[in-house]
Symmetry: C2
Subunit: 290 residues, 2 copies
């Protein structure tokens, strides 16, 4: 029997260095998943459990002074599934060890600071899995496309981001940046679904269609951001996202690989297990209510 | 056929007014659940789904200016299952609409402020379900039992808490306070389980046994807090918690009743559905990659 090489989702999905052409990535593709939807749905609970176990090890390590943490950055067009991933990932791990932050249009206070100010305040702490639904990349995406700042301002941000992320990684925070790649057709279908269902009207925003009109400009802005900020310490991953089950599956696998790479054990007891057991066994059961 | 009255978990579990005697509540009881564990495990997924649906309505309402929100306060001895409830509840609803805060021993900065300072900073925003793992009640529980502040200080806090919670409720935040009631035997079993499993050593803290030695004093402090802060706007619920499946079930049902009481619909569209559909249908699909 031929040796089976375990698929590395990091290798499969990592954005190759150099100029980025998003048209070469099929949003309906399912790289690394030979069995299709059936396989994804069948194996996902086990992978979710594995992710939860690894995340618990990370959290446990922090209790003994390990400062490591992980940050998942999600970017993508409206309806690309950022919230869906948050729900899936945070639903898999202990939500208490998860720090989720959704970035909307900046407030007045946020605008009065450097664009990374609000990002720094939302970073995961030691042992946590941080999840960003949108991020500092909005400042080179929507800001660029809609000219919300002069070119001289946003064009300097790519290198600011690279320096920021490099320091973050050096400080023990693994950064996993995922671009959720959907097709215009999938977006249309998902926006129409919101219009077809009165319980989903609140999720619909006419400005999503305005953004959709600028689809090519947004894709260009993404391609530039992916190229310029695809660094060794903090690479970009491109996740085909027309199929929700693949998107969740791929990101779960990616996070598992990243956490496995941290080689996390369980912290040893910093007390005598024998003495503590004796203390518990010997102690007369206190009377309830005293 | 006799009319079946739907069980109200709010009525069943609400702490009666007047002096509290926790010895009269059996930690292994399962009020309102006739079918036992089988019924709990069988129906819990449906209730979790209902809770998720209601929470989504609350979140949706906030998008149209509704400021209402819900705060679940969890208190109980070590191993009483506070984290387990957080995991269950946050795992049921969209974790993005959940604001979870765990309160440890106060930091130097927190101690430099009024005891409610850190609480105010962690409150849920409009549309959110906040969950407190421990809370401002620690300031009349561990602080009282271990004499971490003079009696003159902590004894004034009960009325401060009542005023604080009353204002909070008046401001649209429904407060659901749950005391997770376990027996000393269940605690012993759970602490021993941590000592028996090297992957759980990190969860074990010898000081938990020190607290256990003060079991009667803690139960007394709980009884006083439950009595003094069992107000109309923010009542206490006592949750028998020796059985984890009952604890999760009961709190899920409680939250469902509270949210149903808010009578939440879905916000109507603030745009023309017809026009938006036409705009989406007519718009030529943008070329991917531009």
């Amino acid at each position: 029997m031929a040796k089976t090489k375990v698929t590395s989702f990091q290798d499969l999905l990592r954005c190759p260095p150099g100029p980025v052409d998003l048209t070469t990535v099929q949003p309906r593709a399912t790289p690394g998943l030979k069995g299709g939807k059936d396989e994804a749905l069948k194996t996902l609970p086990d992978y979710a459990q594995r992710l939860a176990d690894l995340q618990e090890r990370l959290y446990a390590a922090a209790k003994t002074g390990d400062r490591r943490r992980v940050l998942l950055v999600l970017q993508g067009m409206d309806t690309s599934g950022k919230s869906g991933v948050v729900k899936h990932v945070a639903g898999a791990v202990n939500p208490m060890d998860c720090r989720i932050q959704s970035f909307k249009a900046p407030t007045k206070e946020e605008l009065a600071h450097d664009f990374l100010w609000r990002i720094r305040r939302a970073l995961p702490e030691a042992g946590e899995l941080g999840v960003f639904d949108r991020s500092h990349y909005e400042d080179v995406l929507v800001v660029r496309v809609r000219e919300l700042a002069p070119r001289a301002v946003w064009s300097r941000r790519y290198s600011s981001i690279n320096r920021f992320e490099e320091r973050l990684v050096a400080d023990g925070c693994t950064v996993v940046k995922c671009f959720l790649h959907i097709s215009p057709d999938a977006q249309k279908e998902r926006l129409l679904a919101r219009l077809d269902d009165p319980t989903k009207y609140w999720k619909y925003n006419p400005s999503d269609v305005d953004d959709r009109m600028l689809w090519p400009q947004f894709q260009d802005a993404y391609a530039v951001a992916l190229e310029k900020c695809n660094t060794g310490p903090a690479p970009w991953y491109v996740i085909p996202a027309d199929r929700k089950w693949y998107r969740n599956y791929a990101i779960t696998r990616l996070l598992i690989e990243v956490l496995e790479g941290l080689d996390l054990g369980w912290p040893p007891a910093d007390f005598s297990v024998k003495d503590e057991r004796a203390r518990l066994e010997k102690m007369p059961a206190p009377q309830p209510g005293g």
